[in-house]
Every structure is written in structure tokens, then in C-alpha cells.
């Protein structure tokens, strides 16, 4: 089966700004795919190319087996989209907007719509003018989730939602996944990506930096170890892959590159382990390490183009 999304070497420039600089991305049918990156890295631009709003300068883009620019209308029957900043008609009520967007897509499912309104605790009679940011976002989410679309393009869909609503959103996405539908989830909320996504890509300056499952990504980073040992902590500092060793009497703390984890634990065993605590890197640490390190090296070069 062809992948739901296949992008290769995608380039998009705005004047002198190179918003996308040879981006590659493959999302298989039926998976929930995380799309991570700092502000202005090109996530929204990528999604807007996929929607046929922007025309690619070069590169190959295939969406559900079609060309997102040429076959926009036909493809849009099969997808639903939630922007990061849901912009509504101020004098229409939330319920009217949801119905309108569903009818334009051609599949208004009144029962599912009402059920989602309930779960997201959204009052559909309020005029869009009076909705808060979070409630505007809920309007977009209900309109998209009420559909039967086989692909969901979600661009930071939960910005402004409270933690309870975040949990409802995660439940909904799991249901979508259980139905075998595909989700591209661009997000800043790393716990959300960690909880939902099968695979993910980290993008920076319009290019994909890393791709893989969360486990694969962890392989590329370090595990934190905290241990209490019986003998003096000799020979640890010389081990390959060990970083930031701190020794406080019998307590040691260090990070180790995951590929050298085995050797480090072996050495700890020789020193006599009384207690051992290890935890794999969270996505947050991955993210911070990735960008914290590299952005510090390139001051001023990361100025993104913002939302376009």
C-alpha cells in the first residue's frame, strides 16, 4: 500500500527566506506520526503544501496517492484539517461553523458531532466572537473529528486546551488510530507526541533532522544513571560514552550514551551495586538536547519565517 504522505526533497521559498530546504517525510497509512520542531522550523509550511494552499518550488509531494496541488478538491474529500490558530467567522455560532465545515466536506454526522460537543464540553450556541482561544480550537477539533476522513492533518491542534481536554483529545486520536485512519500531528506538547505517536520526525530550518520511532531515537541519546555503590568509584570516568560524572561518597550520577550502557552497568556491577536508578531520556530531553546544543552554536541563524 502506498504511504499516506510521501515527501522528498521539498523546497519552498518566500522571497529570500528558504522556509523548506529539501524536506523528506514518509507517513504510512494507519500510523499516528509526530511532527516536531521549534517555532518557524517549517511545520506549518509543510502542512500548507500538503493542503494545496502553497505550491512547492521543487521536490516530490504525494498525498493519499495524489498531487496535493493538482488534485486538491478530490483529496480534500478524504482528509480533515485543524489549524494551530482556528480562525472563525465572528458572527457565526460554533455550532453553525461545525455544521458548515462538515457539510462543505460532505459528511455531517450529527450523532458523532453531538457526542464530541459533549466530550469537549463546548457550548455550540455561542458566537465565535465570544469564544476563548481554547474554545475556538475545540470548534476546529470537533469539526475535524466528527468526519470520517481517512487522514487527519493536525497543526498544533491542542494549543490553548486545558489538561482535561488534552486527555479527551488523546482518547479521540486513539479511537481514530484504532479505526485504521492516519494522523499527522504537528505539536509542541512532547508528552502528547510521546503518548500518541508511532513514529516521529524532528524538523529544523526546513529540513528533517531525525526520523524514527521513539525507541530508535532514544538509542541515539543518553540514559541517566544514579547508583549507590560499595567500593570507591574508580574507572568510571575513563569509560567511553560516560558524561557528567558526579561522585558524592558512595553515590554516583552520570549520563551514558545508550550504545555504551552495557559497559557502564557492567563496571558498576564490579563496584557492587546497592541501588540503581536509570531512566531513558524523555522526548523533552531529546528535544532540548537537540536544539539546546545546536541553537547555541548558531546564534541568529535560526530566525524562522513564522507562520505563513
Amino acid at each position: 500500500m502506498a504511504p499516506a504522505i510521501a515527501i522528498a526533497g521539498l523546497v519552498k521559498t518566500f522571497g529570500s527566506t528558504r522556509a523548506l530546504d529539501g524536506l523528506d517525510l514518509t507517513v504510512e497509512t494507519g500510523e499516528v506520526y509526530g511532527f516536531l520542531g521549534p517555532n518557524g522550523s517549517g511545520k506549518t509550511t509543510t502542512i500548507r503544501v500538503l493542503l494545496g494552499m502553497l505550491r512547492a518550488d521543487s521536490g516530490r509531494v504525494s498525498l493519499l496517492g495524489g498531487d496535493p496541488w493538482r488534485d486538491a478538491v478530490a483529496l480534500h474529500r478524504r482528509l480533515a484539517y485543524v489549524p494551530g490558530e482556528v480562525s472563525l467567522w465572528p458572527n457565526l455560532s460554533g455550532g453553525e461553523v461545525i455544521d458548515l465545515l462538515s457539510r462543505l466536506r460532505g459528511d455531517l454526522n450529527r450523532r458523532r458531532r453531538d457526542d464530541l460537543l459533549d466530550r469537549f464540553e463546548l457550548d455550540p450556541t455561542k458566537k465565535a466572537r465570544t469564544y476563548s482561544k481554547g474554545n475556538r480550537q475545540k470548534v476546529g477539533l470537533v469539526a475535524a473529528l466528527a468526519s470520517d476522513a481517512e487522514l487527519l492533518l493536525l497543526d498544533e491542534p491542542t494549543s490553548g486546551l486545558d489538561p482535561l481536554m488534552e486527555a479527551v483529545f488523546q482518547d479521540c486520536i486513539r479511537e481514530v488510530k484504532a479505526q485504521g485512519r492516519t494522523v499527522l500531528l504537528s505539536s509542541h506538547i512532547l508528552a502528547e507526541v510521546e503518548a500518541l505517536c508511532d513514529r516521529l520526525s524532528i524538523i529544523r530550518l526546513g529540513r528533517v533532522e531525525q526520523t524514527g520511532t521513539l525507541d530508535e531515537m532514544r538509542q541515539l541519546t543518553r540514559t541517566s544513571i544514579t547508583a549507590e555503590i560499595e567500593k570507591p568509584a574508580t574507572g568510571l570516568a575513563d569509560l567511553e560514552g560516560v558524561h557528567g560524572l558526579e561522585v558524592d561518597g558512595t553515590k554516583v550520577r552520570f549520563d551514558v550514551d545508550t550504545e555504551y550502557l552495557d559497559a557502564a552497568v557492567r563496571r558498576l556491577g564490579e563496584l557492587g551495586i546497592r541501588s540503581l536508578l536509570s531512566h531513558p531520556p524523555t522526548l523533552e530531553e531529546l528535544f532540548l538536547r537537540h536544539y539546546g546544543d545546536e541553537l547555541a552554536k548558531e546564534p541568529g541563524s535560526a530566525g524562522g519565517s513564522g507562520k505563513r
Binding site: 494552499m53 480534500h76 455560532s93 462543505l104 466536506r105 455561542k126 466572537r129
Partner: protein, 528 residues
């Protein structure tokens, strides 16, 4: 005075942000004044010519209805005030109400005032900054007008009074818009209600000037014209106007202190929980989004039509009294004065209603920049269907407004003693302007498709059509330039015979523009 903390910084922000807009408003109004004076001097080079012009206008009810009371017409200054006074004041009023609405409710609706108010900035600072901005703009327009008139040798007192009347009328409509901005939470409604006050002011003075003049005293424009610039000036009519300005601003400040930020005085009503069946396709959405605007314009056009129809019998009786003129017009093979009057009325109403045509076509751009177009285009709605929905509303809206203009003029003429047979005649005379308005819709759309950043150029084109339509003779605009305006190519019914060819050609050009716009829209990026 902590309520006003930060006013100075906000004032600088206003001036910095809108410097081009402010400059264009001031420069174009002053330039219009500056070029009118030498044109009038050239048009009436001798006192004899001036006397003749004065005699012709003295009892010309139509000219008086459009321009104002005939006072001091045998002098260059008097002619300037007559030809330019009412129109100039309408321009100053439009400048004031648009700028005030934009700087107050517009900023608040966009959520930008909230950001500023979270800083150590006083509650009334942004209101005060807007007031100072508008006062400065009106002072600049009035002051430069005074200088322009004085520099061309007109009397000091007359120039001063004329400039001052611009300033006070401008301030009046700025205050009206400021008050409206407290009452409604929608910027378009601010423009609409302040614009309605302006329309009423213009119509009241027209009816008053044609009759015994009483009603003119209740119109801000009429009142300002009672200062008689270049015709035995008097200052005191400006005093009640200034008192009204103070009153309106006071009321606005009281209301502003009582209401919540972001809210109006009228609480928003809850809407429907589900959409009606009509709101299920692009055209349904376009109608829903634009119907309020269309109704507002419809009411404005209807009021104008009623006024023009109401005045018409006076024009009629004037001809009856003046046998010499009637014979002259008949022998020239020309139309009757009443028919010329109706033709001019419809041209004015068509040009004004073209404001709706452009605004309506610009909805597409508004939807795009607000990122709402994206929500629609992400569904299986093609760009073509999306654009067609708003274009349909724009083009059909033009026809509706022209029909309203024709019917309201005709019915009000019948009510005043005109023949019933004139109703269909006047309806037809109004409807012939549809192709010219469609052309403006098409032009706006073509710019939107090709260079969306420049869509506001459409307003400049409309302004040019206004100048050609009304000041072509005074400004000595060359013939070939005049013929560029589609409104000049439309047969002027009922004064002229109907010729179909120009209507077909103009419609075809409109269609061509729309095709060009579609071509551009299909190719370009959407959304920024």
C-alpha cells in the same frame, strides 16, 4: 490623570503605523481644493462670466440639491465653496469616521488594545490618542486648505471660514464614530452607523436647501455651509456644531468607562446550535457573511433615492417657471432638465453603490488574510467555487442596490405627484449601471488574483471615477481620460436613448477581468 498614562506613546504608534494612510487622506483632499481654484478661474475668466454662471445656478434646484445653497456665486471664492463645499465635507467626514473606527474599535476587535492595556497604559489612553490623531488630521486638512485658498488670492476671512468648516465637520464625524465604537463591538457596524449619520446629514441639507432652508440647520453639513464662506462670512453657526462635538465625546467617554473591554453596550445574543440548511455550501456562506453589509447599503441607497425623488418635482416646477430655459433645452434637441437631473442622480447613486461592489469583492481578500479561507479551501471546495460564491453575491448585490435606487426614486417621485409610468422608466435608468459596477467587481478581483497585496488600489480607481464623474469640467480632465471610466460609457438614461453595445462591451470586459483574476488565483499561493 493615570487614566491617560501612555497617551503620547500611543499617539506616536498611531502616526507611525498609519503614516501612509494619513498622508494620502490629507494630501488628496487638499490637492482637490488646490486644483479646483485655478480651474474655476480658467472656467470663468471675467466678472461677466461669473455673473452669468451665478444667474444660471441661482435657481437651479438640481445643482443646489447636489452642492448646497447658492451664495456668493458671482465670485471665484463663492464658486469654489459651491462646487467643492459639500463634496469636500463628505470627504473629510469619511476620512474622520473611517480613521476613528479603525483606531478605536478596529484595534480593540483585533485584540491589540488588550495587549497595550496590560502595560502601564491608562484606560482612556488609546481613546485619547485616537482623538488627538483625528484632531491633528482635521487641523492639517483645514489649515492646508486655508493656505491653498489664500495662496491663490482668495480673501483671508473666507478662506479661514472655509477651512474651519472642514475642521469642525471632520471633528463632528470623528466624534460620531467614537460614540458608535462604544455601542457596538463590530467595527463594520461602526462604519455603517456613522456612515448612516453622514448620509442623513447630506440628504437633510439637500432637502432643506431646495425648500425654505429650515432642515439644513439640523444637518452638520448644512450648518457648516451657513457660515457663508466668501459670501458675507459668519462664525457662529460653527459654535453649536462644536458644542455637539464636545457632547458626543463626553458621552463616548462616559460609556467607555462603563463598559467592559472588548464588549459593546449591546450584549451579543446566543446563536443557533446547528446551522440552517442554507448554510451548507459556499454561496450560502457568502450570502450569510455579506447580507448585513448589503442590507446596510440598501437602506442608504433607498434613503438617497427617496430624497432625489422627493426633490424632483421642485426641479420640474423650476423648468415650468423658466420658459426661456425650457425652450432652449428643447431646441437643442436635448433632454428635459428633469431627465438630466434623474440621470445625474442615478450616476451618483451608482458610484456610491460601487463602494459596496468593491467591499464585497474584497471580502475574498479579507477571508484570506484572516485565514478563514484556509478552513473552507481545506474542504473539497475548489478555489474557483469559493471565489465564485463571493463574486456572485457581489454582482447580484449590485443589481439589487440599483433596483432599490430606481424603485425608491420612482416611488418617491410618484408620491410627490409624478406619473406612475415613470417608475419602470427610472428602474431601467438605474439598472443600466450594472455592467459598470460589475467591471469594478472584476477589476478588484483581477488585482486580488494577480497581486493580492495591492487590492486596495481598487478604491483609488473608484475615487478616480468619482472625480471624472463630477469634476471633469472643473478640473479640465482630458476627454480620453474621461472615457476610461466605465460610468462615462453607460448611456445616461432617461436623458439619453438606450444603446446596448456599450453595455455588452463593458460586461465583456468585466468577465475578462474575472477570468484573469481566476487565472491568477489558481496559480498563486493562498494565505498570505
Amino acid at each position: 490623570m493615570t487614566e491617560l498614562t501612555g497617551t503620547l506613546q500611543l499617539l506616536r504608534l498611531n502616526l507611525r503605523r498609519d503614516r501612509i494612510r494619513i498622508g494620502i487622506w490629507i494630501a488628496s483632499i487638499v490637492a482637490l481644493v488646490a486644483v479646483t481654484v485655478p480651474s474655476i478661474k480658467a472656467l470663468f475668466p471675467t466678472q461677466a462670466a461669473l455673473d452669468q454662471a451665478a444667474a444660471a445656478s441661482q435657481n437651479n434646484a438640481a445643482a443646489i440639491a447636489f452642492n448646497g445653497p447658492a451664495q456668493g456665486l458671482n465670485s471665484v471664492g463663492g464658486q469654489v465653496a459651491f462646487q467643492l463645499g459639500a463634496g469636500g465635507m463628505v470627504l473629510v467626514a469619511l476620512m474622520s469616521l473611517f480613521m476613528m473606527g479603525r483606531l478605536t474599535r478596529g484595534e480593540e476587535e483585533a485584540g491589540r488594545v488588550e495587549l497595550l492595556r496590560s502595560l502601564p497604559v491608562g484606560r482612556h489612553a488609546s481613546t485619547m490618542a485616537a482623538l488627538v490623531t483625528l484632531t491633528a488630521m482635521n487641523l492639517a486638512v483645514g489649515g492646508l486648505t486655508f493656505i491653498a485658498l489664500l495662496a491663490q488670492g482668495l480673501s483671508t476671512v473666507g478662506s479661514l471660514v472655509f477651512g474651519a468648516s472642514f475642521i469642525v465637520v471632520g471633528l463632528f464625524f470623528a466624534a460620531v464614530a467614537l460614540l458608535a465604537a462604544q455601542i457596538t463591538e463590530n467595527t463594520r457596524a461602526v462604519y455603517g452607523s456613522a456612515g448612516a449619520v453622514l448620509g442623513a446629514a447630506y440628504v437633510m441639507r439637500a432637502v432643506g436647501d431646495i425648500g425654505d432652508g429650515t432642515l439644513s440647520w439640523f444637518s452638520p453639513i448644512g450648518l457648516a455651509q451657513k457660515t457663508r464662506p466668501f459670501a458675507g462670512e459668519r462664525w457662529w453657526p460653527l459654535l453649536p456644531l462644536l458644542a455637539f462635538v464636545v457632547l458626543l465625546i463626553g458621552a463616548a467617554i462616559v460609556l467607555a468607562a462603563r463598559r467592559d473591554h472588548g464588549a459593546g453596550l449591546v450584549a451579543p445574543q446566543p446563536g443557533r446550535s446547528t446551522a440552517s440548511p442554507s448554510l451548507g455550501n459556499p454561496i450560502g456562506l457568502a450570502v450569510r457573511l455579506q447580507r448585513g453589509t448589503l442590507i446596510g447599503w440598501g437602506i442608504g441607497v433607498a434613503v438617497g433615492g427617496i430624497a432625489y425623488g422627493w426633490i424632483a418635482p421642485t426641479v420640474d416646477s423650476f423648468i415650468a417657471q423658466n420658459k426661456q430655459l425650457a425652450e432652449m433645452m428643447a431646441s437643442a434637441g436635448g433632454a428635459s432638465l428633469i431627465d438630466s437631473y434623474f440621470a445625474t442622480s442615478f450616476r451618483i447613486m451608482a458610484l456610491i453603490a460601487t463602494g459596496f461592489a468593491i467591499q464585497s469583492a474584497l471580502r475574498l481578500r479579507g477571508e484570506e488574510t484572516a485565514m478563514r479561507a484556509e478552513s473552507v479551501l481545506a474542504t473539497p471546495i475548489s478555489r474557483l467555487r469559493w471565489a465564485a460564491s463571493h463574486l456572485t453575491v457581489a454582482c447580484a448585490g449590485c443589481v439589487v442596490l440599483l433596483a432599490v435606487a430606481g424603485l425608491s426614486t420612482g416611488l418617491s417621485y410618484v408620491a410627490g405627484g409624478g406619473a406612475w409610468s415613470s417608475v419602470p422608466r427610472l428602474l431601467g435608468a438605474a439598472l443600466v449601471y450594472a455592467p459598470a459596477m460589475w467591471l469594478m467587481v472584476g477589476l478588484t478581483f483581477a488585482i486580488f488574483g494577480l497581486v493580492p497585496r495591492l487590492v486596495d488600489v481598487a478604491w483609488a480607481v473608484l475615487a478616480a471615477c468619482f472625480l471624472i464623474g463630477f469634476l471633469a469640467v472643473i478640473l479640465k480632465i482630458p476627454d480620453w481620460v474621461q472615457r476610461l471610466s466605465p460610468f462615462e460609457r453607460i448611456p445616461q438614461l432617461p436623458a439619453e436613448h438606450l444603446t446596448v453595445l456599450p453595455l455588452i462591451v463593458i460586461s465583456a470586459i468585466a468577465a475578462g477581468f474575472i477570468l484573469v483574476g481566476l487565472g491568477g488565483l489558481q496559480r498563486r499561493d493562498v494565505g498570505y
